[in-house]
C-alpha cells in the first residue's frame, strides 16, 4: 500500500544528502584555502555557512512536522531520530570549515612552516572520513560506516603528535610561537571533524541495524537489537 508520507521522508533524506554535499565541499575549500594560502576561497567558505545554517533550520522544521503529523515508528522513527542528529553533526562540520577558513589570513606569512606539519595529511584523512560517513548514510551502508569508525584513531594519533611537536617548537624556536599556536588549534579542529564523521557513522548504524553503538553500548556487530 502506498504511504503518502513516504514523500516527506524522501524529502528529508534528499535535504540531508544535499546538506552533506555542501559541507563536504566546505571542508574541501577550507583545506585548500589553508594549504594554498587562498584568502578568497576562505572568504567564500565563510559566506556559504549561511546556506548550511539554512539547511539546519529547514531540516529541524521538517523533522518536527513529520514527528507531529505522522507518528513514525520503527525504520521511519529511526530515520527521523538519525536525521535530526546527522543534521546537527553536519551543521557543526560546517562551523568547523569556517573555523579553519578564519585562520587562513593569519597563516599567510607562515606558509613554509605549515607545509612542514601533518595538517594536510590530517585534513585529507578527516575529509575522507566525512565523505564516507555521508556516503554510508546515502547508501544505507553500515559496513562503510564501521570503516569510518576505524579511521578515527589515525587522526587522534596525528593530533597528539602535532600537539607535542608544536609544544616542542614553541619551546625551541620562540619565533614560531604564533604559527605553532595556529597549527595546534587547526589540528584540534580537524580532529573534531573526524569526531563528527564518527558520530554520523554511529547514527547510520543505528538507522540501518537498529543498534546503539556509541559509547561502546553495543560493540559487537551481531549484538541484539535495541531493547529498553
Amino acid at each position: 500500500m502506498p504511504r503518502h508520507f513516504e514523500l516527506e521522508l524522501d524529502q528529508l533524506r534528499t535535504m540531508l544528502i544535499r546538506m552533506g554535499s555542501l559541507v563536504e565541499e566546505q571542508i574541501d575549500y577550507a583545506v585548500k584555502a589553508i594549504t594554498e594560502a587562498d584568502v578568497a576561497l576562505a572568504r567564500l567558505v565563510m559566506q556559504r555557512d549561511k546556506k548550511v545554517d539554512e539547511y539546519d533550520n529547514s531540516l529541524d522544521q521538517q523533522c518536527l512536522r513529520i514527528f507531529a503529523l505522522t507518528q513514525p515508528v520503527a525504520m521511519d522513527l529511526r530515520l527521523l531520530m538519525a536525521g535530526l542528529k546527522i543534521n546537527n553533526e553536519l551543521e557543526r562540520i560546517g562551523d568547523i570549515a569556517v573555523n579553519l577558513a578564519e585562520r587562513v589570513e593569519s597563516l599567510l606569512p607562515y606558509q613554509d612552516f605549515v607545509k612542514t606539519t601533518s595538517l594536510k595529511r590530517m585534513a585529507d584523512a578527516a575529509r575522507e572520513m566525512v565523505k564516507r560517513a555521508i556516503d554510508s548514510f546515502v547508501n544505507n551502508d553500515p559496513a562503510l560506516a564501521r570503516k569510518v569508525l576505524e579511521s578515527d584513531d589515525f587522526i587522534d594519533n596525528l593530533d597528539r603528535e602535532t600537539f607535542n611537536l608544536m609544544v616542542k617548537t614553541m619551546k625551541e624556536s620562540p619565533e614560531f610561537i604564533e604559527p605553532a599556536a595556529h597549527v595546534m588549534i587547526l589540528s584540534r579542529h580537524i580532529e573534531r571533524l573526524a569526531d563528527h564523521a564518527t558520530n554520523i557513522s554511529e547514527d547510520v548504524i543505528f538507522l540501518v541495524n537498529a543498534r546503539i553503538i556509541k559509547h561502546h553500548a553495543d560493540s559487537s556487530a551481531d549484538g541484539g537489537p535495541i531493547r529498553t
Binding site: M1, R3, H4, R65, A68, L69
Partner: protein
C-alpha cells in the same frame, strides 16, 4: 468555491437542541480541495457542526439554527434551498458503514438512478469510476452482483465512499469514518482521503487526534460548543496558540 478559495464559510453559526446550546457563534472558512479535521472531546459540538454543513440536523426534532452556512457563497439555510440537491453536492460518510441490502453494483447505481440516469452503459461507467476512486474496484470488479453486506468492514466503508462519489459531490463530510475499522483498513481509508482531496473538499470528524494529524491540512478544535482554535494542522500539532488546544492535543484533558 468563492473568491477567497473557501468552499464553505460559516458566519456566526449557532445551534441548539431545544434549550441546550450545542454550537456557539462559529465563524470559519473551509478551503476548497483541502482536508479539514474537526477535533475535540465528546460533546464539544464537532459532529453537530459537521451535520450542520449539509443540514443533516434538520432531521432532529427541536433543532434551532441561527447564523449562516455558505456553500459556494449561498446560504444553505435559505428557505428556497433544495435540501436533496444540497446533500448531493455535500455528501456524507458515517461512522458505521451502512450499505443498502443490495448488490455492490446497485449500491453505487442507486444515487444516479434516483437522479434520472438509467442507461446501462452510463451506469456501468459511473459504478466503475466510483469504485476505482474509492480504491475498491480491484477487489470487487469480478463480483459486482455480490451483496454489499457481504464485504468486510473496511470494504463496506469504501463502498459507502464510492456510493457518495457516484452522485458527483463537491464536498464530502466524514463522521469518524474509520473508528470501527482495524488499523490496516484505517490506513487504506486515510490514503484514500489523501487521494480524494485532489477533486473534493473534505471535512472529517475524528476522535483520533493522530488521524487528524495524518490526514488533514487544517484542523479545528472545538470545546463545549465553541471553536477554540482553527489553523493549519502542522501548527495545531507543533505550536498551538491556545492553551486549551495544547492541553487537548497533548492528552492533558478530554
Amino acid at each position: 468555491m468563492n473568491q477567497n478559495g473557501y468552499k464553505i464559510t460559516t458566519r456566526n453559526l449557532s445551534l441548539s437542541y431545544g434549550p441546550k446550546l450545542a454550537l456557539k457563534d462559529i465563524s470559519v472558512g473551509i478551503r476548497t480541495n483541502y482536508v479539514t479535521a474537526l477535533i475535540g472531546p465528546s460533546g464539544c459540538g464537532k459532529s453537530t457542526f459537521l451535520r450542520a454543513l449539509n443540514r443533516m440536523n434538520d432531521l432532529i426534532d427541536g433543532v434551532q439554527t441561527s447564523g449562516e452556512v455558505l456553500v459556494d457563497d449561498i446560504d444553505v439555510y435559505r428557505n428556497d434551498v433544495d435540501v436533496v440537491a444540497l446533500r448531493k453536492k455535500v455528501g456524507m460518510i458515517f461512522q458505521r458503514s451502512n450499505p443498502f441490502p443490495k448488490s455492490i453494483y446497485d449500491n453505487i447505481a442507486y444515487g444516479p438512478r434516483i437522479n434520472g440516469i438509467h442507461e446501462k452503459n452510463k451506469l456501468d461507467q459511473i459504478v466503475e469510476r466510483s469504485l476505482k476512486q474509492a480504491a475498491l474496484w480491484d477487489e470487487v470488479k469480478d463480483d459486482l452482483k455480490k451483496s454489499g453486506l457481504a464485504l468486510s468492514g473496511g470494504q463496506q466503508q469504501r463502498l459507502c465512499i464510492a456510493r457518495a462519489l457516484a452522485v458527483d459531490p463537491e464536498v464530502i463530510l466524514m463522521d469518524e469514518p474509520a473508528s470501527a475499522l482495524d488499523p490496516l483498513a484505517t490506513a487504506k481509508i486515510e490514503e484514500l482521503i489523501f487521494e480524494l482531496k485532489e477533486k473534493y473538499t473534505i471535512v472529517i470528524v475524528t476522535h483520533n487526534m493522530q488521524q487528524a494529524a495524518r490526514v488533514s491540512d487544517y484542523t479545528a478544535f472545538f470545546y463545549i460548543g465553541k471553536l477554540i482554535e482553527f489553523d493549519e494542522t502542522k501548527n495545531i500539532f507543533t505550536s498551538p496558540k491556545e492553551k486549551q488546544t495544547e492541553d487537548y492535543v497533548t492528552g492533558r484533558f478530554g
